[in-house]
């Protein structure tokens, strides 16, 4: 609805699966090359409209934040829109927008993305700007402190001042045992307050190096042209240190018993139910069945939870299903907003019943085909814009470790059998792997407490 600013943290709250390849769609043709300093390029030519998307991913996110600095990767992302050696404050945005372009950035657990879409004759500007901020960031105390306030305001906007906002944070930390993911990318106010410009400098030096970045250029460009600009603008940037790998995640499903939390929400008018199950990282073979399960439970009005909770039982205003796509372990979640007057226990019982029923009775072939059709159509519809194609290429490079799967991944989905669906549900959607988060509206400040105070003792 409103215009989205830099640094919209990737709130994976209700996000569904990441895009993937399409059977009926033309394949995404691409070429890759790597500069001597380790900077990777992926170029996709699409000459249908004179536009180009430049999308830079640094393989660093909130998972890599030092202790006591939650939210820092995102705060850092904001700093990359500030000053550089050759650009005063505000010039980055002005240059892109005077070129007719749009720009933004997002931070997730695994990566930080910076992207522009511009008329294709300004490909040189976009790459020059990205080289400038990759190599020549200039941090001032003033910019840092103001941007910290902006980020705190972003947190208030998304979390503190929104009904249910806190509950998603609670869910992610209670359900998750993998330390690098134990906090949301937006971080805590106290940690944001504790950050310093020295942290910016250290983070920049450690992670914002060419060998930790990948640039996708998608649109009305030629590969030789991109190669030439890449060498000219990025070739001189020295290679940095390789970064240390993250610790090994604990095994999932965790199966050590259900966890429950009740969140009293002062801003909510109605309750909210969430159940979340730990699932493996996106590269795990079970991901295909799990993604299809999110469709079976919650995509479209014919989905199981919509039919049962919204239509048959008239118990919920709406339901949502989804899962994280991350390198490390994620969550598979089922969410419902109860209709007024419906007890939250009833919602929980109905959702659990649907999960158990699927495990007990299986999935008809036709229903699985529907889920695959939904997935395939979603992939095709996501390819109308160069920016979303750029994101798809990044997705396969980072989360599948193989860009080529952008054109073959659909086959993996197609091959999933009803038995594999049930097996994945039995394995992961077990009560012992579940975290239940219930949001209850906190009692409104009662006028009852309004009796005058007697003098103290």
């Amino acid at each position: 609805m409103r215009y989205c600013r830099h640094g919209a943290v990737v709130l994976s709250l209700l996000a569904l699966a990441a895009p993937a390849a399409a059977q009926e769609a033309p394949p995404i043709a691409y070429e890759t090359f790597t500069l001597e300093n380790g900077l990777r390029f992926i170029v996709h030519e699409d000459h249908s409209t004179p536009v180009v998307a430049v999308d830079v991913w640094y393989d660093v996110g909130s998972a890599h934040e030092p202790a006591g600095r939650t939210g820092f990767a995102h705060l850092f992302e904001h700093m990359l829109f500030q000053e550089t050696k050759n650009l005063k404050k505000g010039e980055f945005d002005r240059l892109v927008r005077s070129a007719g372009g749009t720009l933004n950035g997002t931070t997730s657990e695994d990566r930080t993305a910076y992207f522009e879409t511009l008329p294709s004759n300004r490909i040189n500007l976009a790459l020059w700007l990205e080289a400038e901020r990759m190599a020549q960031l200039a941090v001032t105390q003033q910019n840092f402190e103001r941007e910290r306030e902006v980020v705190k305001e972003e947190r208030r906007l998304r979390v503190e001042n929104q009904p249910y906002g806190e509950s998603f944070m609670v869910r992610d930390s209670v359900a998750n045992d993998y330390q690098p993911y134990n906090h949301h990318p937006i971080g805590s106010m106290a940690d944001l307050d504790a950050a310093t410009p020295d942290d910016v400098h250290a983070f920049y030096k450690q992670f914002y190096v060419p060998n930790n970045a990948t640039i996708v250029v998608a649109g009305d460009v030629d590969v030789p042209q991109v190669k030439e600009l890449a060498g000219q603008y990025f070739g001189w940037i020295p290679r940095g240190l390789e970064r240390a790998p993250l610790p090994e995640p604990p095994p999932v499903p965790r199966l050590d018993g259900e966890r429950r939390v009740t969140v009293e929400d002062k801003l909510a008018n109605t309750p909210l139910f969430q159940s979340a199950y730990t699932i493996p990282g996106h590269g795990h073979p079970d991901t295909y069945a799990l993604q299809l399960l999110t469709s079976i439970f919650g995509e479209g009005e014919s989905s199981r939870l919509h039919q049962r909770l919204v239509k048959d039982e008239k118990a919920a205003l709406g339901i949502f299903s989804g899962s994280n796509s991350r390198i490390g372990p994620g969550l598979f979640y089922l969410i419902a907003l109860p209709n007024q007057g419906v007890p939250i226990e009833r919602i929980e019982a109905l959702i659990n019943d649907e999960v158990e029923k699927l495990i007990r009775e299986g999935v008809p072939e036709r229903e699985l085909r529907k889920a695959k059709n939904q997935l395939r159509a979603g992939m095709v519809m996501d390819r109308l814009r160069v920016q979303s194609k750029a994101e798809a290429l990044h997705h396969y490079r980072l989360l599948h470790g193989d860009v080529a799967q952008v054109n073959t991944d659909l086959d993996r989905y197609t091959a999933v059998t009803p038995a594999q669906i049930v097996e994945a549900a039995r394995k992961y959607l077990a009560p012992a792997n579940r975290t239940v988060v219930i949001v209850l509206p906190a009692q409104k400040a009662a006028a009852a407490g309004a009796t005058p105070m007697p003098a103290g003792k």
Binding site: K89, S98, T140, H201, Y233
Partner: protein, 762 residues
């Protein structure tokens, strides 16, 4: 800040809260530029490569046998097609006493036809991986489907069936009604949606665009209302098909004629539009949302219909004022001041009168400054010619981004449809860029003067009125906000030298050419010009509130401190579990000028040094004075003078700032809250509120709640305590000894690793 104000001060110092450094340490030198050997990157951005002229893409316009119009944008890049049927009737045609009819009609339209159940419809569209959606806005209703090309027929079958033969089954209506009622409750808890809703109601008044569904109106709507709306709106003479994607124009017309052949001809009368509300003065409308940490603001008024010839120049003006990250309002409120995550200003063009609206969300303590800046920037559009660099940036974006707006067939078709529905000239899209390029600074100022009216604007503020009251006291007292001319966005494109100098002092955040100290603007300006403004206050559901219900309804707690004994107590301060210092509190009783006074002095040593003193009258807790040295405030001193706090604050590395503000009844000076807890019978009074003067010179309301009783062990021993939550800008938990004397035994800051524990004394 409360409870002796120690913990917050510690937090502030250790964490450099608010960006200020601890007193003891000098600020670090600015960071050197990254070590780069002789950069090989050109210092200037490259110039544009050549770009061939891009024309607006071809599209086709046809008419079906039944009279419906069709726009087709053919594009075979991806095997996807969208069929979007728009009807020239929307919620503005709702019966006057039943807002919500369009919403319910379109909501139930696809929930069953004469031959298909809602489940069959859902199953069919989901099976092909497509989407079917039906909805309404103020001027239009729509039913649309997006599918892979192979399933185009499935989409047309379903679409024509729900449009031509809806059954509006009773149980589906009841189910949808129930969900709508719950959705309304959810909406009323979401600040942005709540602000928009109130804004439409206020801006349009009795005009049909202003009516919003309520629980009562939703409950009153009958099936016959849905049938009547459907028969009126869903007629071919009222219809425009917008087809985009992988289709052949001739073929799709044949198919549309087949599927919609049985559609009974006819057109709909346009709804009667009453005059939109005109205002002679500003109106400020507060929606009270207790506990909100931000003020969500909407500032605007009605504008002329989309066909007004001034719109191209007005589009440019609004792009300068509020377009994207480089718009003035975002540049000032976010980029210069850090008040907000974003601010925008834009217009919604409509068939009848549209509206102009500026939007932002800011933390409570900046609500006054932000609102004043917003109004001043709108005023600036009228009062000064737009600087050449800002005008060029806006026009370059509007013309240059053209290829981005025609990337998908859906985007192209959507633009064509909008021009047709709004009644714009046939060459509007093709000529738009030329017309934008021709707009001059004089044009911009002329249309701004004609069409932007900040002094007659509606200002909707959704937030905690009790907290905002003090900040916006001039408004609450009936004065319109006027600010000094604010800082314009820097224009590095034209004059790089005008940009913020790197490392400029924090005290002068505005770039060259900007007015200084906008934070002081509202108070000063309000004093000069007391323009009357109309004020109203509502709860989220729309019930009018009286200001006294919100701000003064707080029970004024009365405290009697005559039982407080002099003594000395020592506390240990721990940061992340490690002791970092000690605080010694000395409490004395004095008789001065016939008054029975309590004086409490706290000295903190260790990593930081803070000294805090508060003096108040024992019998009724009337404050006398408070002062601080160290911590976040380098120095602060307040004196109580007939219901006001008068004094001075000197921030670290900052100048001295005088403070003179009215205190709400029963307000405590910093440090008194601990004594208030000690003399309160927490067994009986489990929940109450305390107005507290912050060391930063503003008043906040702290909600106190006894959440439990427990035992804590601290260096001084083991104590039975009340566990008390104190929520405000910095929430904390206090443990107060159950047995007399009811002293503070332990204190934790929420969200910060700081704990204070009693070591010695009682």
């Amino acid at each position: 800040m409360r409870l002796r104000t120690i913990a917050p001060l510690v937090l502030a110092a250790l964490a450099a809260c608010g960006g200020r450094q601890p007193v003891e340490e000098p600020p670090p030198p600015p960071l050197p530029p990254p070590a780069v050997e002789e950069a090989k990157l050109p210092a200037e951005p490259p110039v544009a490569l050549p770009l061939e002229a891009v024309a607006f893409p071809a599209f086709h316009e046809r008419t079906l046998a039944n009279g419906a119009q069709v726009i087709i944008v053919e594009n075979h890049e991806q095997p996807v097609v969208t069929v979007d049927l728009r009807l020239r009737t929307g919620s503005s045609a709702d019966p006057r006493d039943k807002p919500g009819v369009a919403e319910l009609t379109t909501g139930v339209l696809d929930k069953g036809t004469k031959t298909r159940s809602s489940k069959q419809i859902a199953e069919t569209i989901d099976f092909v991986g497509g989407s079917l959606s039906v909805g309404s806005s103020a001027d239009w209703s729509s039913a649309s489907a997006t599918v892979l090309t192979a399933f185009l027929d499935t989409a047309l079958v379903l679409l024509s069936d729900v449009v031509l033969n809806p059954a509006f089954p009773d149980d589906e209506l009841e189910n949808y009604r129930q969900r709508t009622l719950t959705a309304l409750q959810v909406l009323l808890s979401q600040p942005g949606a709540l602000a928009d809703r109130r804004f439409f109601q206020e801006v349009y008044g009795e005009h049909p665009y202003g009516r919003q569904p309520t629980p009562e109106s939703v409950k009153a709507i009958k099936r016959s209302d849905l049938v009547a709306f459907h028969q009126r709106a869903f007629r071919p003479g009222n219809a425009l098909f917008v087809i985009a994607g992988d289709v052949n124009p001739d073929e799709i017309v044949v198919r549309l004629n087949q599927h919609f052949g049985g559609w009974r001809a006819g057109a709909a009368a346009r709804p009667v539009m009453t005059a939109a509300k005109e205002r002679a003065q500003q109106e400020v409308v507060f929606v009270h949302r207790p506990g909100a940490v931000q003020a969500v603001m909407r500032v605007g008024h009605v504008v002329e219909p989309a066909t007004n010839p001034d719109w191209v120049a007005l589009d440019v003006a609004l792009q300068v004022l509020g377009g994207g990250s480089t718009g003035w309002v975002n540049q000032v409120l976010r980029e210069q001041k850090g008040y907000t995550y974003g601010a925008s200003a834009a217009a919604d063009k409509r068939l009848d009168r549209g509206h102009f609206v500026a939007r932002t969300e800011v933390r409570n303590e900046k609500a006054d400054s932000a609102l004043a800046e917003l109004l001043a920037l709108i005023r600036k559009m009228r009062e000064e010619p737009v600087p050449a660099a800002d005008l060029a940036l806006a026009k370059d974006f509007m013309t240059g981004s053209f290829p981005l707006r025609i990337e998908t067939p859906q985007q192209i078709a959507g633009q064509v449809a909008s021009t047709r529905l709004l009644g714009l000239p046939a060459d509007y899209l093709e000529k738009y860029r030329e017309r934008v390029a021709a707009v001059t600074a004089e044009d911009v100022q002329r249309v701004a003067r004609t069409h932007l009216h900040p002094d007659q604007a509606v200002i909707v503020v959704v937030g905690d009125a009790a907290q905002l009251h003090d900040k916006l006291s001039a408004v609450f007292e009936g004065s319109a906000l006027r600010a000094a001319t604010p800082a314009p966005a820097p224009a590095p494109g034209a004059e790089p030298a005008a940009a913020v100098p790197a490392g400029a002092a924090a005290a002068t955040p505005a770039p060259a050419g900007a007015a200084a100290a906008p934070g002081a603007a509202p108070a000063a300006a309000a004093a000069e010009k007391r323009v009357p403004v109309k004020i109203s206050l509502y709860d989220p559901a729309g019930k009018p509130l009286a200001l006294k219900d919100v701000v003064a309804k707080k029970v004024v707690m009365k405290f009697d401190g005559r039982s407080i004994q002099p003594g000395e107590r020592t506390y240990v301060l721990k940061f992340q579990g490690n002791p970092v210092g000690e605080s010694v509190a000395s409490i004395t009783r004095e008789q001065v000028g016939g008054k029975d006074l309590i004086r409490s002095v706290s000295k903190i040593g260790g990593v930081i040094a803070v000294e805090a003193e508060v003096v108040f009258e024992a019998p009724d807790f009337t404050p006398v004075s408070a002062r601080f040295k160290g911590g976040r405030m380098a120095e602060a001193e307040f004196h109580y003078q007939a219901g006001r706090a008068v004094g001075e604050i000197a921030e670290t590395q900052g100048e001295k700032k005088p403070v003179d503000l009215a205190l709400p009844e029963g307000a405590l000076f910093p440090g008194m809250d601990e004594f208030a807890l000690a003399v309160t019978d927490l067994e009986r009074h489990r929940e109450f509120e305390l107005p507290v003067l912050e060391p930063t010179g503003s008043v906040t309301t702290v909600a106190v709640k006894v959440v439990g009783e427990t035992t804590v062990e601290v260096p001084a021993g083991k104590f039975e305590v009340y566990e008390v939550e104190m929520s405000g800008p910095q929430s904390m938990r206090a443990y107060v000894r159950k047995a007399a004397p009811h002293i503070l035994v332990k204190q934790e800051l929420l969200g910060a690793p700081i704990v204070i524990e009693l070591k010695q004394g009682s």
